[in-house]
């Protein structure tokens, strides 16, 4: 698809995968009513890994990452995030959610709050950070996503790409150890995709653990250390990006890659 979005050298010096396990999913299953959406998922993510999940729509990739911070409930199997097991215990869920940042396809910024307030809200109320400190940190991250000058505007006044970068900054303000991206560029115009991808690459270069559901195969090839291909609710194939793209094993993967890279 858009292989051309990334045009700079990527600094891999800090992209180190450690032995520490960040997320461990074992035999996880999920149903919507009687529809089996996720089938026997087994996935271990180490600290510092950058994983891209690809697959046709309806394959369950979004559902999978939404299970990791309990936006969706799984019905069987086990999910352990940062040593905390996801159960129906609300305390655990809130603890996991404050460690795991999430970026949505439609940004989901809070339209009644300014950009700065969007970024300071959760640190102040969840982490009990003093307001001044939270604001300083928010400005730091807004600078990092290159929109400090928009801090006092409302989300509705920003372009899609800017909104998505604010959404990334908002997640980062909680100092998460893991970031989940749910199709972060799918709702954006082509010229805005690049600015969001650049922000994500910078994040990867600093060693953030990331799981991205995306169709940006250029990003997958250059940033990910592992690509996972899902279809019909199960993990069909996973490999390092070079191998995955150049030497796919399953027929389903070959067909998918030929469809999205073919032209």
């Amino acid at each position: 698809m858009s292989e051309l979005a990334i045009d700079r050298e990527i600094d891999r010096s800090k992209m180190q995968v450690s032995d520490e396990v960040a997320i461990e999913i074992t035999n996880m299953n999920k149903w919507y009513g009687s529809f089996h959406v996720l089938r026997d998922i087994n996935l271990t993510v180490n600290q510092g890994e950058r994983i891209v999940i690809a697959g046709p729509s309806g394959s369950g990739k979004s559902t999978l990452i939404r299970c990791i911070n309990a936006l969706e409930e799984h019905q069987a199997g086990k999910i352990v995030v940062d040593g905390i097991e996801l159960t129906s215990d609300l305390k655990n869920i809130d603890r996991i959610r404050s460690e795991v940042g999430m970026v949505f396809q439609h940004f989901n910024l809070f339209p009644h709050l300014t950009v700065l307030e969007n970024c300071t809200l959760a640190p102040i109320w969840v982490r009990k950070t003093p307001k001044k400190e939270a604001e300083e940190r928010a400005m730091h991250f807004l600078e990092k996503v290159k929109i400090p000058e928009q801090a006092d505007k409302y989300p509705g006044q920003l372009s899609g790409g800017q909104q998505q970068r604010v959404a990334i900054a908002r997640s980062l303000c909680m100092m998460p150890r893991i970031m989940l991206f749910d199709e972060p560029t799918s709702a954006l115009d082509p010229e805005m995709i690049k600015e969001v991808l650049d922000t994500m690459i910078e994040l990867a270069e600093e060693g953030m653990t990331m799981i991205c559901v995306t169709h940006e195969m250029g990003f997958a090839r250059q940033v990910a250390n592992r690509v996972i291909f899902m279809d019909a609710g199960q993990i069909v194939e996973q490999n390092e990006p070079e191998e995955f793209f150049n030497n796919p094993q399953s027929e389903r993967t070959k067909l998918f890659l030929s469809q999205i890279l073919g032209h």
Partner: protein, 432 residues
């Protein structure tokens, strides 16, 4: 320029075209008239017909108003003064002013008390309505209900003090324990308040009100427009939080809470207010302990509050449903708990969407307070229909009295409507 016509496809602008003023006949009064009043034969006829209608209405009402008699003791005296001319008899308003505003039993020497309570209400309402004012003013707003109760009903100051103390104790308990567990703080607060009220109530002797600094005025002596205002303000301010709670309860995942809220809302909405008011005046006593005498005013407040809360709950439910699911998910994914997500993210947006509907209910509720006249409470309409029209002096003065009542209600309701429009503009941040 010439290239544009000769060369078929390629075109490059030669520079920026500077802005210029519009043609002269596109501005001014004549243009406005032509466009808005006389844009065609049909519209011209409509314009002339409307002007004629306005003329006829004014021709007949203006003399009635301007010939109005303001000084007379009775309707027959009015007619004498007018001597056959058309003219209103506004004297009834001047002569019965106190009755229209305060009812006919409220002690005359105590009129300053509701007056002061009204002025203080404006101060107390200001920080709630206009949130740019300093937040410290909310402290006065919190104390105001107790001050107003004491001023209007009089009697011993201990009653409102005990009530206030119970609320403060509940707030302290909630502050202390509500942080860890909302339920513990909430129910702990209620229990503490009940204990304080019970103990405090036992300490106040029966005769405490007899020689109080402010003479006690029983609820049945309240009346006039004052009663409408009191019911309106109390019921609106109580039914808004109750309505929010019901709307959230109806969305709850806990089936018991959900069904209690659904049944409450559907039942109350399905019953006419007037039935509820009869229940309040006659039957509600059966639901309270046998020896307790619950005040009629309080019973009416409970009923009107429940009625409007059910409507407000449905309006807010609409606002909640209009929010995209992503807002809930974003709040959840940041680790906000239910109370925080509702208070900081969901409700501010849902309430903003619901403002027109809530105002609709509030205006309707305020006008519905006149229904208490059917359960023999002498509010403004009750006063007019009862003591004033029944008196020998003023029997037959309908237009002036009811027109005055309409004017009072219109002023308040129009004010509410204008405020809500200001509020919507003030809260508009979506910039769509």
């Amino acid at each position: 320029m010439s290239d544009q016509t000769t060369n078929s496809i390629a075109f490059v602008a030669e520079g920026t075209i500077p802005p210029s003023p519009p043609p002269a006949n596109e501005t001014g009064v004549v243009k406005w008239l032509r466009e808005n009043l006389f844009s065609g034969v049909g519209n011209s006829i409509l314009t002339i017909a409307s002007v004629l209608l306005i003329y006829v209405v004014l021709k007949n009402t203006l003399p009635w108003i301007f010939n109005g008699v303001w000084n007379a003791d009775s309707l027959s005296q009015c007619r004498e003064i007018l001597g056959g001319k058309t003219g209103a008899c506004f004297a009834v308003l001047a002569e019965r002013w106190n009755q229209l505003i305060y009812g006919f039993k409220y002690p005359v020497e105590a009129y300053w008390r509701p007056n002061l309570a009204f002025l203080l209400m404006l101060v107390a309402a200001a920080p709630v309505l206009f949130f740019d004012l300093p937040r410290k003013m909310l402290l006065f707003t919190a104390v105001y209900p107790f001050v107003a109760f004491w001023l209007i009903w009089g009697g011993t100051v201990l009653v409102p003090l005990v009530a206030l103390f119970g609320c403060v104790a509940a707030a302290v308990v909630f502050q202390k324990y509500g942080k860890n567990s909302f339920a513990a703080g909430f129910f702990g607060g209620i229990v503490v308040a009940l204990i304080v009220w019970k103990v405090g109530g036992a300490l106040i002797s029966e005769s405490a009100s007899e020689n109080a600094w402010l003479t006690a005025v029983p609820s049945r002596d309240l009346g006039g427009f004052m009663l409408n205002l009191m019911l309106g303000v109390t019921c609106v301010s109580l039914s808004l939080p109750l309505g929010i709670a019901l709307a959230l309860g109806r969305q709850s995942d806990m089936p018991l809470i959900k069904w209690v809220c659904v049944i409450f809302i559907e039942f109350i909405r399905g019953v006419p207010l007037i039935t509820l008011l009869f229940v309040a005046s006659v039957m509600l006593a059966y639901f309270f302990p046998p020896d307790s005498t619950v005040d009629l005013f309080l019973r009416v407040v409970i009923m009107i509050t429940m009625f409007s809360a059910a409507y407000i709950a449905e309006v807010i439910r609409g606002g909640l449903a209009a929010l995209p699911r992503g807002q809930y998910e974003a709040a959840d994914s940041l680790g906000l708990d239910y109370a925080q997500a509702m208070r900081l993210i969901i409700l501010p947006q849902a309430l903003k969407i619901s403002i027109p509907g809530i105002v609709n209910v509030a205006v309707g509720l305020f006008k519905d307070t006149t229904l208490v006249s059917v359960i023999s409470m002498f509010d403004l309409v009750g006063m007019i229909r009862g003591p004033i029209l029944a008196s020998t002096e003023w029997n037959g003065v309908y237009w002036e009295l009811l027109g005055f009542a309409a004017l009072l209600f219109f002023v308040v309701c129009y004010g509410i409507s204008q405020y809500s429009q200001w509020l919507e503009r003030r809260l508009a941040t979506d910039h769509r």
